[in-house]
């Protein structure tokens, strides 16, 4: 809409999908949570939803302003495919499945297959995002964001962490530190072996430090007008340690 307001884009056709009930809100389907593409950030802040997908609720709370959160949607965040999209790291850490539909049929894809580069989504001209499905994970989730202030801020760096107790996995995804959302796989594998899964905790403080270093080294950030590459790497390391500590507390 901003591009339209600034005459950078002149749509030849407009199709409103605002009032399609199937694209709205969220629902529980077995052990999965399904979110419609038109689900707004405000709806993600709902405590009922937050109980199932806390990292997305936390991410939604950090987006723009109340006005933006009332209008902006999950599908919009995905299709925009910005490196700074705040819902993307939680979706990456949750192994989200994204359903796309066109007259040719329906396909289900992953975040890493959908988002291929900076503001570049593998989305056909005839395709719409219909829904996003994530598992209702047994275990805590955290989302942390570094920015220049608390409101109306585009992320400098973000971290989403999911502690999947059933699979004994720690999954961590980073935002704004590479062209696409990034999973810190080496850090994930290493810390999973350090966690005492009987009563989730990390006995060794040095292990938490090393986890932060591994996460920081996974980032491949650039320096731009919002931050420097060095600060972004440092920030994701600090936020990773903090997210792990909160998830284990």
């Amino acid at each position: 809409m901003v591009e339209v307001n600034y005459s950078q884009r002149r749509p030849s056709t407009v199709i409103s999908i605002d009032r399609i009930p199937e694209l709205k809100g969220w629902r529980q389907n077995g052990d999965r949570i399904e979110m419609g593409a038109c689900m707004t950030y405000s709806e993600m802040e709902d405590p009922l939803f937050a109980a199932y997908v806390p990292s997305l609720a936390q991410a939604a709370r950090t987006v723009g302003s109340p006005q933006i959160r009332n209008a902006g949607t999950l599908g919009g965040n995905l299709a925009t495919a910005s490196p700074a999209g705040d819902t993307l790291p939680p979706l990456a850490a949750l192994n989200a499945q994204i359903t796309l539909r066109s007259l040719r049929g329906e396909r289900i894809t992953t975040l890493s297959n959908l988002i291929t580069g900076v503001k570049s989504a593998n989305l056909g001209r005839d395709e719409v995002i219909v829904k996003v499905s994530v598992e209702a994970v047994d275990g805590p989730q955290e989302f942390l964001k570094a920015g220049t202030r608390n409101a109306m801020v585009i992320s400098v760096a973000t971290v989403a962490l999911v502690l999947d107790a059933a699979r004994r996995q720690v999954r961590i995804a980073l935002g704004s530190v590479s062209p696409v959302p990034l999973r810190a796989s080496a850090a994930e594998g290493w810390i999973a072996d350090q966690v005492n899964w009987e009563s989730p905790s990390v006995p060794d403080k040095e292990a938490v430090e090393h986890f932060g270093e591994l996460v920081a080294s996974a980032a491949t950030p650039i320096t731009d007008h919002r931050s420097t590459s060095g600060y972004r790497s440092h920030a994701v390391g600090v936020m990773a340690k903090r997210a792990l500590a909160r998830a284990l507390s």
Binding site: V2, N5, R10, S42, S65, Q67, I68, A71
Partner: protein, 175 residues
């Protein structure tokens, strides 16, 4: 205003004809281009200039209106997609003969200097006090976090909203 520019190639724009429900009245829009924002249509097609236009990109909150009871930046809403929805602007919150309690509180607390951001702040405050009559200072700050004011420094805006909230609570307690 940027929307008024003749498109490159000219003359091939999609014309739209639709009716919006603004402040309880059916308002016909004719010969609008289909990509026009709700803000543009309110101001330029319907002549309702209470809603202000500053950034056209959702950063400033000057254009805040209620869409089905939710505060949104009208510059980010496609006007044609607001068909069938209830739109309330600052004009709709204002009684015919004066000011509402929040507007009066802004005057009483000196929360207005140039006044450009005021309509958006009034709409944001209205929805806050509807949803959270006991709003804390932190909640007031979050509610107006999308409304930029470059004159007042926000202190008087916050005290005006807190004052209006307190007056409403007292009025209710007195019943």
């Amino acid at each position: 205003m940027r929307n008024c520019e003749t498109p490159a190639g000219g003359g091939d724009e999609l014309l739209a004809q639709y009716t919006l429900n603004v402040n309880g009245k059916a308002c016909g829009v004719t010969k609008g281009r289909v990509e026009e924002s709700l803000l543009y249509v309110l101001r330029e097609r319907l002549g309702m200039t209470g809603t202000k236009n500053a950034c056209d990109q959702g950063e400033c909150g000057s254009c805040t209106v209620l869409l089905d009871g939710m505060a949104v930046c009208s510059c980010l809403v496609l006007a044609a997609s607001a068909v069938g929805r209830e739109i309330v602007t600052v004009e709709g919150l204002t009684p015919p003969d004066g000011l509402n309690d929040i507007q009066q509180a802004f005057v009483d607390h000196g929360a207005v200097q140039c006044g450009f951001c005021t309509p958006g702040l009034i709409v944001a405050a209205e929805v806050l006090l509807r949803d959270r009559p006991d709003a804390s200072t932190l909640e007031i700050k979050e509610a107006i976090s999308g409304n930029l004011c470059r004159c007042t420094g926000y202190g008087r805006v916050i005290s005006a909203i807190a004052g209006a909230a307190e007056a409403r609570r007292e009025a209710q307690g007195g019943c």
